[in-house]
Homo-oligomer: 658 residues x 2
């Protein structure tokens, strides 16, 4: 029963609407009410499992990508891989300390976008946002491609199907995320710790056998792929290998986004988890690189370096080898989950700030940002298809964005400490924007400022080295893409600002009421549908004009005769159309009527519209109402009234069901 | 100036509307007024040029397709090609005499569809229509593919590009036909007569050299393609070769469609032209097959049999060879023109009779049936891509339709003569349908009936032989497709009949006027656009309900507060939406309001709709108006009023430009 017939101003109704069950329910689960949003928090051990998969999984490809570059100077150059990985681990340590400080300053989550917006302003924030979005997409493409490379290393017969498998895996992760992943520990803890344990066993056994002198070299190594003649080992080549190796650092920032998920004291727990994670990452990177070099592993598209290492350590492709490869594959697929959680969350944040379409800020039926998840999956699939699921081909696009966002985040933090110092000295500082996290006094602001500044400086150098050494291999794409995304953010932002201004009621004076209403009814033939529309037109105004566009003289004559009989005296205008166009003369006529109208006169175009019983029958009719609707959108005070006319062969259509 | 303000009933306005120039004008030429439709007629010589290209061009592939089948029993079986072509020429003679009679009985054009509809009824007419549409498409695919095969025979380097070239040629012919081809003689006469003259020179020189004993055999023949082990020469194989050869008869019916284009006496001139055409076709088929066998030509995908023949006759690939190949290529491309003229014409005929969407009966800006032309081109392109532009792969789909339509046409004629006889004896016959061509007395009706009956019998046998022998090679596709098309025709026809019945004013009693109008205004936020819509709503009724779907409590509270201030006392209903759905609760609400309304009460949903300045800005807004519009289409007496609100950053939007 409807009970708001009384003239109260505001009525609130509990929605009785229940979404119907459909194929979506089956695939994605039943819709969740807003009240069901999860509030549980996690400890350090589970936190490591949830947030570390992205960072740790990169050990599966970082060493190989260094070797791919060094192979340009022949296999002898592989000796440089260990010193380079030491440099990478030093960089990792600095980035970790730097992020540790961010975590304590931003207990509610301090992603690069938020820190940049708070401390550096809108443009750096847009750059950070663009860099992060790019990198989330690349994380999905690279991790899945690397996961598939592990599978095809163990089962070479699957190699021709690698693109199909990769696309299938992306779709699988997409569906899982559309259902909504409860970051609830066990789901993540088991595979992550399984991977970490397997990794330590593998490198442990490997080191033990190395010290005992029984490790040997890889048997049947794949053929080394030399594209060019072996070149000399140049400084440029070493920098390029270093750049490829820095892909190991991707994912380190994940914890700083996820602080609110931790148990109290949040920042403390998150910080310790970060240090655990970086330590494991550093140890694994060093040992894997060292062992890979000792066994003479060779980078190849057919078998990953990591597979060669595991095969050599375990003397063949036995059960331990398969367990190690399985653990690696699973963690690589799980690594994409971080992107699937953060990409839509960042998109929603950007949408809320007016840099992306606002509807991206709405949660879908399962409380996740469905549109962002689907968009991420589709773009990653396109990348995987374009780059044939090759990690080596994707790597040059990767990591620039990561290091750009590292740089902005840490530069923002350095500036923040400097402002903290000013505030503590009682000096005036520029106000932060409305939603910014407030500054807190900190005695050690000078030291912290130096740490973040050094971090910002080093990561900016890495970003620059990466851009220069990888420019021709694909980094140029990212260097065009990020400014293009920033430009898009800016354009959207200006649109929303202009819109808000022009919709604002601040200086709004209500216009006078509508004085005259003129109604135009297009008539192609005289039948029940036309008379149905005419009935509506008559309820609107007495000033009605029926308009018929004449293409066929016989048809026009029929319309004219029938109108005399059925037209209820409403005037009929016949427009000759020598070029057999139907809509254009009508629109031209209405435009000329609109041009000569009086102030506060409104033109209503009443369009009869067939609604057939079955959807396919729409194909048998031109959608005149839709065409007219779009044609008149830009004319002020011309409104379109769709009068649907349900054609049914059983019921008499003009009856109202009561 | 608008001058129909006075209350006269009917006003006729000369359309001032001139279509604007655009890229379409450049590509297709300026629009033509209806009055420009051509009325010129053509004589026998030009008529031959216009209508013969389809039939004559099939000599370029008919012999080859016979040899392809015979190759199944080894090269020795090629001796059967000449006897088979004699059988085909006999069939050609019978079909020609049979059509000669049709031409005299149907001076206004007697295509298979018209003759079937007139004499056999609706279902046979639908079958004939389906068969003809299928064959027009295949004619385009086969002729273009064969034309490209001639080109790649002369220039083997182009072979890998054959699909691209074929698609390009179809698009070229499509654009030419969209511009509108004036079947004006010289354009057609030059290449057709050039082809005929070149053909007679080639077979003439070939026969002379054969008689002089200097013809020799083809040098460097392409390798013979044997898919299976050579099998024995069976009767089935000979029938199959015969079926392939009957593709030479495609296009013979073209003149019977085009009789109105001839000079008076139309039927007489058209009939003589038909006999000329068939004679040339028969002579060429026999001589080409004979000579191909003598020189030991071999069917191959790399070089056409016809190219091998021309190369042998002219002792190499000199100027005469190139001229012959060029003439053949050009006539094969021109052959598709018959399809491009007849397919849209038949579609329009079928649309006029209610078997296809009615809008197919409208002529486009250049007076041609543009939609039919584009559809034909697209389907032919799909076929060419699917079958890799291979004539041999397409042939099994071809010719069934042709012979099916031959059979129906001649069976219809036979029945017609029988009725003529009855009428002449003064007996009663079933009335023909409304538009049918009237019967004329003819003393020789018995003889003519026998001729048509024999023709119908023989062509039905050929259609059957074709279906059986080619079934597995692809004929099954057509045997599924034609019934499917007939089913579609029938479904569409029933829809239009039902529609006409339910729209009919014959037993129409005007319903009472609209008594109550209830207005619903969806409100997502309170701003100028909302108030603009409210202003329209107020002009419609006093019974207005604003409805807000609550997803975010803060936003809802803002809406509530602003509505108190700006809502002009209109009641506001707030719908809680725990599943964060926007449209569904609103639609559910309106449906429940509609359910409880009184008779003759109409619900108008006034939907404010943003119209941004630039089209791309639409991507930033959900198209709520469009979604609601489709959702309410099926509800009786619920109308949707789109109130476009033009957002402009410069002009104040609610002002009416006067």
């Amino acid at each position: 029963m409807i009970d708001e017939e009384s003239r109260t101003t505001v009525l609130r109704r509990a929605a009785t609407y229940q979404p119907p069950r459909s194929w979506r329910t089956w695939l994605l689960g039943r819709p969740l009410p807003t009240a069901d949003a999860p509030h549980q928090t996690i400890g350090k051990k589970v936190g490591l499992a949830v947030f570390a998969s992205d960072a740790l999984s990169s050990t599966a490809y970082a060493t190989q990508e260094m070797l791919v570059v060094l192979a340009g100077a022949g296999a002898a150059a592989f000796v440089f891989s260990f010193p380079i990985s030491i440099a990478i681990v030093i960089l990792l340590a600095i980035v970790t300390i730097s992020y540790e400080q961010t975590i304590h300053a931003y207990p509610n989550g301090g992603g690069s976008y938020i820190v940049s917006y708070d401390n550096l302003g809108r443009t750096p924030a847009m750059v950070a946002g663009a860099a992060l979005l790019t990198d989330y997409i690349l994380t999905v493409a690279v991790s899945i491609s690397s996961g598939v490379a592990q599978i095809t290393s163990a089962f070479p017969d699957l190699f021709p199907w690698r693109v199909v498998i990769a696309v299938g895996l992306v779709l699988f992760v997409m569906v899982v995320n559309l259902r909504g992943v409860k970051e609830s520990g066990s789901l993540f803890a088991i595979p992550t710790y399984f991977f970490v344990v397997m990794m330590f066993i593998t490198v442990g056994v490997g080191l033990a056998r190395y010290l005992a002198g029984t490790l040997g070299v890889v048997t049947d190594p794949p053929e080394i792929e030399m594209i060019h003649e072996a070149q000399a080992v140049t400084f440029f080549l070493l920098l390029k290998a270093f750049s490829s190796g820095t892909s190991a650092l991707t994912g380190v920032e994940a914890i700083s986004n996820g602080i609110p998920a931790f148990k109290e004291p949040k920042s403390h727990n998150a910080g310790i988890t970060l240090i655990w994670m970086s330590s494991i990452l550093g140890v694994l990177l060093l040992t894997i690189t060292f062992l890979s070099q000792q066994i003479g592993a060779v980078p190849s598209v057919m078998e990953t370096v990591f597979s060669q290492l595991a095969r050599t350590v375990y003397n063949g492709t036995g059960i331990m080898y398969l367990l190690m490869i399985a653990a690696t594959t699973v963690i690589l697929i799980m690594a994409t989950n971080t992107s699937f959680a953060d990409f839509p969350r960042l998109s929603a944040l950007l949408a809320g700030d007016g840099f992306l379409p606002r509807y991206l800020a709405f949660r879908g039926s399962r409380l996740v940002f469905s549109r962002g998840i689907i968009f991420l999956a589709l773009v990653a699939i396109v990348l995987i298809i374009l780059f044939r699921a090759s990690v080596t081909a994707l790597i040059p696009l990767y990591a620039i964005g990561v290091f750009l966002s590292f740089t902005l985040s840490q530069a923002g933090m350095a500036l923040r400490w400097w402002k903290t110092g000013k505030v503590m000295r009682g000096e005036q500082v520029d106000e932060l924007h409305a939603h910014a996290t407030p500054l807190h006094a900190d005695e050690r602001w000078r030291l912290k400022m130096i740490v973040n500044a050094v971090g910002a400086f080093l990561t900016s150098i890495v970003a620059l080295v990466f851009a220069v050494t990888k420019f021709r291999d694909g980094a140029w794409i990212v260097l065009i893409l990020i400014p293009a995304i920033v430009f898009t953010f800016n354009t959207i932002h200006r649109h929303y600002q202009g819109l808000a201004k022009s919709l604002s009621l601040d200086s709004y004076a209500a216009p006078p009421g509508i004085m005259r209403k003129r109604v135009v009814v297009p008539v192609s033939g005289v039948h029940q549908g036309t008379l149905h529309a005419l009935r509506f037109a008559r309820s609107l105004s007495n000033d009605i004009t029926a308009v018929h566009v004449s293409v066929d003289p016989e048809q026009t004559e029929r319309v004219r005769q029938k109108w005399e009989l059925w037209g209820e005296g409403v005037r009929l205008v016949i427009l000759d159309s020598p070029f057999r166009l139907l809509h254009e003369p009508l629109m031209d006529y209405i435009a000329s009527v609109a041009e000569h109208r009086q102030p506060n006169e409104v033109i209503t175009v009443v369009v009869p519209e067939f609604v057939p019983e079955h959807w396919w029958q729409n194909l048998l009719h031109t959608q005149a109402a839709l065409t007219l609707r779009f044609a008149f959108r830009s004319m002020p005070d011309v409104v379109i009234m769709d009068v649907p006319y349900q054609v049914s062969h059983n019921n008499h259509p003009q009856k109202v069901s009561t």
